[in-house]
């Protein structure tokens, strides 16, 4: 199933539990999900497997050069920055930390381009710092839809707050609300 819909999720501390909660609410959808979680190479596959066990869609580590497929969840591996070519091909690259982190949500989201066909959705979930704020602003600029997690449900509100302060956030919601919104947008 090839589709041009891409959902990019940026998340940090509190990620594993929040993602589990989120993906518990999401049925298989017509989009490729790319998760950029601040993670180390030792943990990334564990998270992927853990999530894979509970999510309704398959979850695996993104591989360099891989073509994204709708109805799949890809986790950016630790130790690299992830970029997408043409919004559908994975490119992993080494490089310095950005916003003190690696992989960086900003790097991933900034690699997205205005789609001729299909939707781009950016989501910022719990985390400390401001990684992803610029990325989300970019998503908005290229005509995408933007969501940020609300303060109440965020383990750490830093990243969603920074995203909100860009003024480029369309929806502020708890995980369930985000799930509902995604279903709505991609349904």
């Amino acid at each position: 199933m090839s589709s041009k819909n891409v959902v990019m999720i940026g998340v940090s501390t509190g990620g594993p539990s929040t993602l589990k909660e989120l993906f518990n609410e999401i049925p298989p959808l017509n989009a490729a999900f790319v998760i950029v979680l601040h993670i180390t190479p030792e943990m990334d596959y564990r998270i992927a497997q853990g999530l894979d066990a509970s999510a309704s869609m398959p979850v695996a580590l993104a591989r360099d050069g891989e073509f994204l497929k709708a109805g799949n969840v890809y986790l950016a591996p630790g130790g690299f920055h992830l970029k997408l070519d043409g919004n559908h091909r994975v490119s992993l690259c080494e490089g310095a930390r950005v916003n003190y982190v690696q992989p960086s949500v900003d790097v991933a989201m900034l690699s997205l381009t205005r789609p001729i066909v299909g939707a781009v959705i950016g989501v910022i979930l719990t985390g400390m710092g401001k990684d992803g704020a610029e990325g989300l602003r970019h998503v908005k600029r290229i005509g995408g839809t933007t969501l940020a997690q609300d303060q109440k449900s965020s383990v750490i509100y830093g990243m969603p707050k920074a995203a909100l302060e860009t003024g480029a956030v369309d929806f502020v919601l708890p995980p369930r609300g985000i799930a509902a919104k995604l279903i709505e947008l991609l349904g």
Binding site: S12, T13, G14, G15, P16, S17, K20, H38, I39, T40, E42, M43, Y45, R46, I47, Q49, G50, G78, R97, Y100, V101, Q102, G127, M128, G129, D131, V155, I156, Y157, G158
Partner: protein, 128 residues
């Protein structure tokens, strides 16, 4: 030796509370009263879920994590912050990848056990 849970907190009652909780769940617990002790346990081979307090005399939680990473003691471990502080400040910058969750005090026993069970299950995932 691969224990499963470590509590790093300078307050003995909190350590005791966590101990009781772990006991009732049948989880092995190692106690550390300071960042230094934590490092010692890690050097001795501890691998598992580390409950790390932020505010401690001597090395605080963040400094301890930095030292863990510097000494390459992180692989095989998973760190959850345990803190009375609200949102963390910029001292956490650069440590995002190493901090998997953030629990605020006071916490109920169920919240803690749920988290511990979940994260221990993550750690038990075999190497691909």
């Amino acid at each position: 030796m691969s224990n499963k849970v470590m509590i790093v907190d300078d307050n003995e009652f909190i350590r005791a509370a966590v101990e009781f909780i772990c006991q009732s769940e049948g989880l092995d617990l190692v106690s550390a009263a300071s960042g230094e002790e934590c490092l010692r346990h890690l050097e001795s081979g501890f691998r598992g879920v580390i409950l790390m307090d932020v505010m401690m005399p001597g090395r605080d939680g963040w400094e301890t994590i930095r030292e863990i990473v510097a000494r390459d003691l992180y692989p095989g471990n998973l760190i959850l912050m345990l803190t009375g502080m609200g949102e963390p400040d910029s001292r956490m910058d650069g440590l995002q990848e190493y901090v998997t969750d953030y629990l605020t005090k006071p916490f109920g026993p169920d919240l803690l056990t749920d988290a511990l069970q979940y994260y221990l299950s993550l750690l038990s995932v075999e190497t691909p």
